[in-house]
């Protein structure tokens, strides 16, 4: 057991928490927060697991940097979409209003 591994386990925990939130929460912004938690958890697992035996490893660190940029791009895009959706429909969740449109929400 090394500190790195501890963080990897913490990352696993974060993934679980985020996962629960992602499924459970209805508000889109909260879903987005949950997604970011999963992301952070995943990054911790990636670096923590890789480094537990042999110290700092630049490759996973670089991967995580890439991952962070990708996830900020996705987050920012999601915020733009959520805000516009809210502006047009007045809703902050996806499920609220299948009735007023009659399409698109069928599952």
């Amino acid at each position: 057991m090394t500190p790195s591994l501890l963080y990897a386990f913490a990352g696993a925990g974060l993934c679980g928490i985020g996962m629960f939130g992602f499924i459970q929460l209805r508000h889109l912004l909260r879903k987005l927060l949950a997604f970011n938690l999963i992301g952070s958890g995943t990054f911790l697992v990636l670096v923590g697991l890789a480094q537990h035996g042999q110290g700092p490893d630049a490759v996973p660190q670089a991967l995580v940097l890439t991952g962070i940029v990708v996830s900020i791009a996705a987050t920012a895009l999601a915020i733009v979409l959520i805000r516009r959706y809210f502006h047009l429909s007045g809703h902050t969740s996806l499920e609220a209003d299948d009735s007023d449109s009659g399409q698109g929400g069928a599952e």
């Binding site: 697992v45 990636l46 996705a74 895009l77 698109g104």
Partner: protein, 490 residues
Amino acid sequence: MITAWLMAGLLFTPLAWAVLCLLLDFSRGRLVSCLGITVQVLVSLGLWVAVAREGGFLYGLGGWEAPLGIELRVDGLAVTFILLTAIVAGACGLHASVYLAPDNAWYRYFWPLFWFLWAGLNGVWLGGDLFNLYVGLELLSLSAVGLVALGGGINALRASLRYLLAALLGSMAYLLGVALMYGQFGTLSIAGIASLLPETQALVGPGMAMALMLSGLALKTALFPLHGWLPPAHGIAKSPVSALLSALVVKASFYIAARLWLEFGHELGSTAVAQLIGGLGGAAVIWGSWLACRQSQLKQVVAYSSVAQIGYLFLLFPLTFAVSDTASLQAQQGMTLQVVSHALAKAAMFLAAGNLILATGSHQVAGLAGVSHFLPFSLFSFGLAGVSLMGMPPSGGFAAKWMLLQASLASGQWWWIVVLVAGSLLSAAYVFRIYQASFVAKTGVDDFYHPPGSLEVIPLLLALMSLGLALVAEPLLSVMALSLETGGAP
């Protein structure tokens, strides 16, 4: 060397077209894109011919070999899918250039997104590095989401948000799997991991990684019961976009899943998992077709049909696990044919549906009354694409079904035959429902809008390709089979 150039052309020139189009408005972007499409199709064809002649190879980008660098895998299957992408995306692009109205300011963003999407697809087909595939998937998902949302109203936004969230969750699950794989093996190269796997004792970690990656990819491929996001997104997008998404984008994540299964499945899979995935695929076939029969909107029918058709692809998993080499090969060939024929047919169908909607001014299936009388041409391409979806001969869909039937028989897993037969009958039900609606006699004058000929020709060509696929299946499959020899396949 020339092959390497062609390959790099496929990876990087779409990005260059994207940047160029970003700087131009819609009409000029259209010009550039038409030029670009021509170039890409030619280059893809060139690469296909080159690989068909000389065989595939592994290529380290930046001069760095795996595991340090990113490795590309250029093999028969990859170049076939690249060619498919070039044909389908090219057709969708040309269709869009007429279909989308140039006076909408935000359509100028269509072209950059379109090219990024293409670049992402090519990246995924060629990718041989787990993390690189993750970035490629994200590239695909975000540009697809952007295209769905483009200039849309509430419903488009809702659909694209749903799509975005599903895609993000899927990629994260995949990335988590990648993290575990890296922790176990210290490398990200698929070929590298595949060669290390047989010597690995503790398979808990890689097994979990595999499970995570597959479930993430299944979500992105809209495998039943994770398909909820697909019909809204594919149904609401502009028709050329729907065509791109249904024909190509979902195939990308499936392709990765299939590659992982074929490379790692022997060590990390189990009969239960294989049967479970196959069962979900079978359920998707039945459930998706059933729902397609019940949709009142034309494009929703087509979208649910995608859910069903994707289900067939997942029969690959049980039919390649712990079976004879013959059965496995047949299943792989069936899967490839299904990908190709569904891509062609579904693109044709969405484009034709777009034309029909344009012509009738209605999204409803019932709005098609009289179409067969006044717009036989638009209906014809739709009908031909439907023939392939039903799996009627001599279409590619039929060839795929035949190969899957043979694989099921050869592996003794007869229960998939039930799925195949039931699926094709149900798909006939929803396709014929549309035919029937269009054959309803409508008296009176022709008050339909007649789409320009260029819009009509493109889906027709795609549909004809899908229809005639079985006739050229043998040479096509012989090139695809190159993948199984050059790569480090099990």
